[in-house]
């Protein structure tokens, strides 16, 4: 299953020297296999994300890198050195914790300076103060040093946690769902800030998240995980356009799936037949053989919803309409295909006219936008 489909020179790990590497790293908690012989490298200066639902092993991978949980077998390398048994406090990596884990009994400046003061020989007061101030500037919290942690808002605490990690100039910065506790608007702002910061500092960022938008929007490369293994890794564009399985297509972006059997295929094209007898063409790649169970994936924005029938269009009933500003989301019901989601851009809806729940309509899509994927 472990395959890499990358597109665009920037996304190739091979271009960068490795800053961290897993070699057959396995982690068991009792009977649970949290990481299943993970082997992959992280390039210097890369923004890498582990994406998957809870329990997929993404947090375990991060914790093995941080040094909190040593692997049951296999090894972890940092900067070419084997660190499998090196405890967390001796590793040159830092973490931004999910709920920040800021020290409540210290000021903002004391929190940020904490890591610097653990170094031996201990750096001078002035040096610490200077570095703390620079870190505060960097996260746009200039002058907030003497504040207490509980006086800071959620977004500000997030930035303190970030400053506390980057002030140590770690080889790798680990981010454990860093934006989960923020509300939508702040989250979007922090996404831009994190991306900008990463480019400025040139530090390797490793992000763990279950939120696909977060992963898509910030990463150079995403590893989709499942059951302790990496199912697919590649650039956001590559994952979105060329998922290797239904699981990946479902996790990266929204998609409609039509289940059936692959009846015929060439190198790049194939045809799927549903239980109801309907047949649809689509692109197909990989080792999927004719006769195999498969699913046709069509992104909601690829479907065209029209008032009048056209050749090849399927009749549907509109169930629900959600106005979202720049586009409108329709839920439509097909007699045999079930419920499908259709995204209509604002201009398109303005010209074609809108639908109300209960209206009849016809959906169609270009065959090359459909993707036939293995069921898994």
């Amino acid at each position: 299953m472990q395959s890499q489909i990358d597109s665009g020179a920037k996304d190739h790990t091979a271009d960068r020297p490795l800053v961290a590497e897993f070699r057959a790293a396995t982690k068991r908690y009792g009977a649970v296999l949290a990481a299943d012989a993970l082997s992959f490298g992280i390039g210097r200066g890369e923004f890498l994300s582990f994406l998957g639902p809870s329990g997929c092993g993404k947090t375990t991978a991060l914790r093995m890198l941080a040094g909190f949980d040593p692997p049951t077998s296999g090894d972890v390398y940092l900067d070419g050195e084997r660190v499998t048994d090196v405890p967390a406090y001796r590793r040159p990596v830092n973490m931004v914790f999910q709920h920040y884990a800021l020290f409540p009994h210290m000021t903002v400046a004391q929190n940020i300076g904490y890591g610097l003061l653990q170094r031996r020989p201990r750096p001078g007061r002035d040096e610490v103060a200077r570095k703390v101030d620079r870190a505060l500037d960097m996260v746009r919290l200039t002058g907030f040093g003497p504040r207490r942690i509980w006086e800071m808002s959620g977004g500000q605490q997030q930035r303190v946690a970030l400053a506390r990690a980057i002030v140590n100039e770690p080889k790798v910065l680990l981010l454990d769902e860093p934006l989960a506790a923020l509300d939508r608007k702040l989250r979007r702002e922090m996404q831009i800030e994190l991306q900008t910061l990463q480019r400025q500092l040139g530090i390797t960022f490793v992000l763990v998240t279950h939120d696909q938008e977060e992963a898509l929007s910030m990463s150079d490369r995403i590893c989709i995980m499942r059951g302790g293994r990496i199912v697919q890794s590649g650039s956001p564009n590559a994952l979105y356009d060329q998922p290797v399985s239904r699981y990946v297509a479902d996790f990266v972006g929204k998609s409609n799936f039509i289940d059936g059997t692959l009846t015929a295929r060439t190198a790049t094209e194939g045809q799927i037949e549903c239980a109801s007898g309907l047949r649809f063409a689509g692109r197909v790649s990989g080792a999927l053989a004719a006769g195999a169970r498969a699913a046709l994936s069509i992104r909601p924005e690829q479907i065209d919803l029209a008032h009048s029938a056209r050749p090849g269009a399927e009749p549907v009933t509109v169930i629900n309409r959600i106005f979202l500003g720049e586009h409108t989301e329709y839920l439509v019901r097909h007699a045999s295909l079930g419920d499908l989601m259709v995204l209509v851009a604002r201009q398109a809806e303005a010209s074609a006219g809108r639908f109300a729940p209960g209206d009849a309509g016809f959906i169609s899509w270009a065959p090359e936008t459909g993707l036939i994927l293995p069921q898994d």
Binding site: F68, A88, Y89, N94, M95, F97, F103, H105, G115, Q118
Partner: protein, 283 residues
Amino acid sequence: MQRRLSTWLLLAPAGLWFAVMLVLPLCFVVVFSFGERAAAGGYVPAFTLAQYANLPARATAFRNTLVLAPLGTLLSLVIAYPLAYFLAMRADPKWRTLLLILVIVPFWTSILIRSYAWIFILGGQGLPAVIEWLGFGQVRLINTPFAVLTGIVYGYLPLMVLPVYVSLERLDKRLLEASADLGAPPMRSFLQVTLPLSLPGVATGCMLVFILLMGEFLIPAMLGGGKVFFIGNALVDLFLQSRNWAFGAAVAVTLVVIMLVTVSLYMWLMRRMGGVRDDVALM
């Protein structure tokens, strides 16, 4: 209207309670402390400061209390902290509840029964006999400050363990991971994170034990013999035996004042430590 009535019905017992339970007895004691002893014992109304002037007569009791109560508190803390730490941070969660019950249950059995075991252990036929048999010469343990301290630590340890345990158990364990992640080895993480964050529990435990020790009289009576007197023993003597109510009241008022000062100091400290709510701090 209905609302008003119910509010008053609720207020009435509260107000009454405050008056009867707190103000009245305190008034009695304060008034008594300015009075004089009747010839046959008891109380004769008067307004004199003679009883307060006479306080030095019980200086030993005050000195014993003011030395042994803080010392006993400190000793309890020193023994309780590692125990609480073990329970909160290292003990298997499966066994934690059982261990906690084991810590608390003895506290629920009569202090009398428990203290009595110590009379036997520290008495002539107990530990001193063993020490002599081992060839370390004769020692006397019972009826010494050491015996009283032993009894105090033994009796009050659960009261110290619980608040410290609660503060350690509530400590966000990810803070320790954050500390390690930032380069602090375990010992430094303990000193820089665990210890400061458990101070509210330490303060509450110390406060609780200290306040109760200030009023203690049973342990000094049993393990201190006639030798190690606390203020509590002086009160028993003055009220129940010598029946010098006026002097007893003066001693009681002094004790209450010392306690109120300590409580105020504690409240002020907790407030400065910040974030701890008053009602929680009080418990």
